[in-house]
C-alpha cells in the first residue's frame, strides 16, 4: 500500500510523474478506501468496478489517473442517474454531461456516484431515497447538503475531488460542515448540460476538494463556453491554479458583512472562528472594512419562492411517460401521472412542487413570485454596489456547525434556513468559495465564504489560497 488516502491531486500527480505509483494502483487503493469507509459514511450510492472505470480512459491530460466522483444528478453515459429519487431509480443516462466529458478528456477517472438530497432539495443529505450520508468528522451528524455525498467522500479521503451542484448553497454549506473547500462559480461559467435541473436560474455546478489549489485546477478544466447550455458565458478561462501564490495579493480590501456575521441565531463558536480568520487576513496585509447588505434578511424568503417555482416547472417532466418510474395502478392517463408522481417523489420534493405551484398560481403570484423577483434585483444591486467599494466580501458559510441527524425532522423551516448565508449569492449570480477556518470546541469544522464580483474566481482563489497557506486547517483529517 502507498498510503495515498488524503493525498491532494498535486501530490498524486507528483507520485505519478516520478513513477512511484501507477494509475491502476491509485485506483485500486482509493477503491479499497471507498469500500472500507463507505459502509459507515454512505457517501456513495454506487462504487464502480475497476474495469468499467478504466474503459475508454484517456491516458493523457492534466488530470491523468486522478479519481473523483460526481453528484448523482450529473449525467455519466451508461451509468444510473437517480437524483437519489425513486422516480429515477432505474434511469440510465444516454450521454455525458459537459463537465463529465471535459474531465474525461483531461484524463480523470470517475469511480462512483455520490449521494445527495433527493433532486438536490435539502441541506443535510437526509432526503435521499437510498440512505442518509454521515459527516466523517462526527458520524452522528449530517454532512450538510444537498451535495453531502460529494463533500463526505472528499473529507473522508475516498477521493481528492468531487463535483456537486449549488442552487442555494449545496456545494458551500456541505463543504463547510465537512471541513473542505467548496466553490460555486459565477452563474454561466460552468455548463449545466447534463445536470438534472432544479431551479435553472440559480443552479450551478461547483467543485469540492481538500485544498484551494486542487479546486482551482478542477474549475479550470470544467469552465468555459458550451453551446449546449444557453446560459453559458463566452469568457476566456485562466489557468486558476497557475495564478496562485503563497503570498496574499497586495492592496486587497475585504468587506466583512456585519449584518451576516452578527445575525440572530449565529453560533458563538462560528462567530469567534470567523473573527480569528479576519485577524489572519489583517496580519497578511488585507484591509478590512465593515459593510452591510440590508436585503440579506429577505433573501431566504425570495430564494424559497423562486427555487420552488422553478422546481415545480422543471420537475413536471417526470410523469412516467418517457422514462423513470410508472405507476402500474393507473386506469387512465391523469391517474398515471398523479400516482407515478405520488409514488416516485419523496415528501420534501412533493412539498416543494406544491409550494412552487402555489406561489405561481393566479391570485398568489403577485404577492409571492413578483415580490421575490424584486428582492432578487435588490440583492444583486446591493452585492454589486458593495463590490465596487471592496474587492471581496466575507460572510459565514453556515449559521452553526454540523447538526445531529434528524435534528430538524419536526421543523423543516429551520432546515431550509441553513441556506441563509449561501442562497443570496445564488440570487445575485456571483462566485463564492467556502474555505475551512477552524474547528469548534467539539472538533466540528467551520467555513467562511469569500464572495467576488462576476467572474472574479481568479481573485477569490488567490486570496483563499494565501489564507489557506497561513493556516493548517486543510491538513486536519477526520479519524475514520
Amino acid at each position: 500500500m502507498n498510503n495515498i488516502r488524503f493525498m491532494t491531486i498535486d501530490q498524486l500527480q507528483e507520485k505519478l510523474s516520478k513513477k512511484e505509483i501507477s494509475v491502476q494502483e491509485i485506483l485500486q487503493e482509493l477503491r479499497m478506501v471507498c469500500m472500507q469507509v463507505n459502509s459507515n459514511i454512505k457517501a456513495l450510492i454506487e462504487l464502480f468496478d475497476e474495469d468499467s472505470v478504466l474503459k475508454g480512459y484517456s491516458a493523457s491530460g492534466p488530470l491523468r489517473g486522478i479519481p473523483g466522483v460526481l453528484k448523482d444528478n450529473i449525467a455519466q453515459e451508461g451509468r444510473l442517474l437517480t437524483c437519489a429519487s425513486k422516480i429515477l431509480a432505474t434511469y440510465r443516462s444516454s450521454y455525458d454531461a459537459t463537465v463529465c466529458a471535459r474531465l474525461k478528456g483531461a484524463g480523470a477517472l470517475f469511480i462512483g456516484r455520490a449521494n445527495l438530497d433527493e433532486f438536490a432539495m435539502g441541506s443535510s443529505t437526509e432526503t435521499s431515497v437510498f440512505f442518509e450520508t454521515k459527516n466523517p468528522c462526527d458520524v452522528t451528524r449530517v454532512p450538510g447538503g444537498s451535495s453531502g455525498g460529494s463533500a463526505a467522500a472528499v473529507a473522508a479521503g475516498m477521493v481528492p475531488w468531487a463535483l456537486g451542484s449549488d442552487t442555494g448553497g449545496s456545494v458551500r454549506q456541505p463543504a463547510a460542515l465537512c471541513g473542505i473547500v467548496g466553490m460555486k462559480p459565477t452563474y454561466g461559467l460552468v455548463s449545466r448540460y447534463g445536470l438534472v435541473a432544479y431551479a435553472s436560474s440559480l443552479d450551478q455546478i461547483g467543485v469540492m476538494t481538500r485544498t484551494v489549489k486542487d479546486n482551482a485546477l478542477i474549475l479550470s478544466l470544467i469552465a468555459g463556453h458550451d453551446s449546449k447550455d444557453s446560459t453559458s458565458l463566452v469568457h476566456e478561462i485562466p489557468h486558476y491554479a497557475q495564478k496562485l501564490s503563497d503570498r496574499m495579493p497586495e492592496n486587497i480590501c475585504i468587506g466583512v458583512v456585519e449584518n451576516a456575521l452578527y445575525a440572530d441565531g449565529m453560533d458563538s463558536n462560528v462567530v469567534q472562528l470567523i473573527n480569528d480568520a479576519i485577524k489572519i487576513f489583517e496580519k497578511a496585509g488585507v484591509r478590512i472594512q465593515l459593510v452591510n447588505i440590508p436585503t440579506l434578511e429577505y433573501s431566504a424568503a425570495a430564494y424559497f419562492i423562486i427555487s420552488r417555482a422553478e422546481a415545480a416547472s422543471n420537475l413536471a417532466r417526470f410523469d412516467g411517460v418517457r422514462y423513470g418510474l410508472r405507476s402500474q395502478e393507473a386506469e387512465n392517463l391523469y391517474d398515471m401521472y398523479s400516482k407515478t408522481r405520488h409514488d416516485g417523489f419523496g415528501d420534501e420534493v412533493k412539498a416543494r412542487i406544491l409550494v412552487g405551484n402555489y406561489v405561481l398560481s393566479a391570485g398568489h403570484a403577485g404577492q409571492f413570485y413578483k415580490n421575490a423577483q424584486k428582492v432578487q434585483r435588490l440583492i444583486r444591486k446591493e452585492f454589486l454596489d458593495r463590490l465596487k467599494e471592496v474587492d471581496l466580501l466575507l460572510m459565514p458559510s453556515q449559521p452553526a456547525p454540523a447538526f445531529k441527524m434528524g435534528a430538524f425532522n419536526l421543523d423543516k423551516l429551520q432546515m431550509d434556513l441553513q441556506d441563509y448565508f449561501t442562497c443570496p449569492v445564488n440570487l445575485a449570480g456571483l462566485p463564492a468559495i467556502s474555505i475551512p477556518c477552524g474547528f469548534t470546541r467539539e472538533k466540528l469544522p467551520v467555513g467562511l465564504q469569500l464572495i467576488g464580483a462576476p467572474l472574479a474566481e481568479e481573485l477569490i482563489y488567490r486570496v483563499a489560497h494565501a489564507y489557506e497557506k497561513s493556516t493548517t486547517w486543510c491538513q486536519e483529517v477526520p479519524k475514520i
Partner: protein
Amino acid sequence: MAIIHVHEVLYIAQISRISIHSAETDKLLNQLQSVLGYAQRVSDNVVDVQDYFHKNKNIVRIDEAVRANAEKSFMLAPQQEEHFYVVPAVL
C-alpha cells in the same frame, strides 16, 4: 398571512399532478403553511430597482436538424411500441 385550507392544498396537488392520500394532507398543509408564512416577508420589501442584468440577452442554439439516436430514448421508456410511447387511455 392568510391560512391555507385543505381544499387549496388538494387543488394545488391536482394541478401539480400529484395524488395526495388523506393521511398525508395535514403534514403537507403544515409544511406549506410554514414555508409560505416565512416567504411572505418578501411583501414587506416594496422597493424595486432596475435589473443590473437587463443588458443580458438570450442565446439560443442554431435551429438545425441533427441526427439523434431515437432507439436510446425509447429504450428508457416504461412502455413503448414501434417508436411510440404507450400510455393508458386518455379518456
